[in-house]
Assembly symmetry: C2
Homo-oligomer: 252 residues x 2
């Protein structure tokens, strides 16, 4: 029988710049009686990674450009927030009705360049996405190995809106230790038919699964252990593999 | 501590038209020692629902239109398959390079109108999407209640490609008993900040979580129990709420 457990890791302190996030996660997991084990997948919501890495901006110190100011004024937005969103973007996909859909420097297409006002301490602070989420995931993975001796996979997750469908889901913006896409082309189904088009974005599915325990705004569960999922190991895979190159876009 | 279990339900017989799918799922869950419990979420891959409901087409009996024939010839496709895909569509979003992205009669935008050649018995048979997946989910939910006395939520899932990102993920195409979108606007975060934009597509996240145990082509696990997730109950919610109306599209 195939059973997977999703275990929320709670009881962490408020994460501050310079904190050893891996260590705090290992300790919290141990304290609640669910120590990290070999082959666990550890999913971490990006905002605590950003806070630990100091990817935090005080909006009071941001000088907005004239363009940011005029857009903000038109739609009753904070001009400093608009400015930060623009600075984090390498392109604008849509900027209308007060909404800004950008392409981030990493290549993710999302609202507000992933700049997040929630779960950030301080009146007027926002969290940026980590500078290099794959590298962040790798550092956490290596530190967990050093501290526990366990080889795990790490996923950094973010909540993204998406085209065509309502509501946000969690996706992987950083991975280490596992292949984000499971290529099943060539496998056979129950009746011997060879699959021809199946490439499953398992890292996104794992991020979404973890959100089921992380996504309680008031409980302070910034990470989850997914236990019992047989992932395909990789030392080189990156979450940027999940970004579809524009020239391969089928839907837009 | 917040723990969710995802339990694959295996050992079902090959599902045929007219089968009582709910009964077969309940029996299989009991036989493997994990009987269905109150407040479980039962996720079922659509193809077994389609087979039970007779939403199966023998391609040998399909007469393709001249348009289907010419498209199929151009891209070395099966003209009968192209014909079935077109018949299931209420619109074509893109039809190029041998790929067909349609809007199904339900309103889902996906490849090939969701017509599926895998996991269908018979040399030349394909499965259509269920005619009304929300109604299918409701029938299964009611039958599970009758058989076990347990009030559960039911999700019918399908594997969809998506814009912007590579790889497919599982999404909810039918729901019964739970709100597919958890509206968290107005909730407060860890630091007292009121969330303004958070609407989580939990039904899609549950479908993706279930795929982690269902998605083994060769193991015959067509359904999963998700246990321990506190969903918001609803007697009226529909998966069609997850379809974004064109006029609200932000990305395209």
């Amino acid at each position: 029988m195939n059973v997977i457990q999703i275990i929320g890791i709670g009881g962490l302190p408020i994460i501050k710049t310079g904190d050893n996030l891996a260590e705090l996660i290992c300790k919290a997991a141990e304290k609640q009686g669910t120590p990290i084990q070999e082959n666990d997948v550890i999913v971490i919501t990006h905002v605590v990674v950003s806070r630990a890495e100091g990817c935090i901006v005080n909006l009071d110190e941001v000088v907005p450009s004239p363009f940011a100011k005029s857009f903000a004024e038109l739609y009753a937005k904070d001009p400093a927030m608009v400015e930060v969103v623009l600075r984090e973007a390498k392109g604008i996909r849509r900027m209308t009705d007060g909404k800004i859909i950008t392409e981030t420097k990493h290549g993710f297409v999302c609202a507000n360049s992933g700049v997040d006002k929630s779960n950030v301490p301080g009146e007027n602070y926002v969290a940026l996405l980590p500078h290099d989420p794959d590298a962040s995931a790798e550092r956490v993975k290596e530190e967990i190995r050093r501290l526990t001796g366990c080889d795990v996979a790490v996923i950094i997750s973010d909540t993204h809106g998406r085209p065509l469908r309502e509501g946000e889901i969690n996706v992987a913006i950083g991975v280490s230790g596992l292949k984000p896409i499971r290529d099943r082309r060539g496998e056979r189904d129950l009746f011997g038919y060879t699959l021809r088009v199946k490439q499953t974005a398992v890292a996104d599915e794992l991020a979404s699964a973890a959100e089921l325990v992380i996504g309680q705004a008031d409980e302070g569960v910034p990470a989850a252990i997914i236990r019992g999922y047989k992932f395909i190991k990789s030392e080189t895979a990156k979450a940027t593999e999940l970004i579809r190159p524009k020239e391969k876009e089928l839907f837009l």
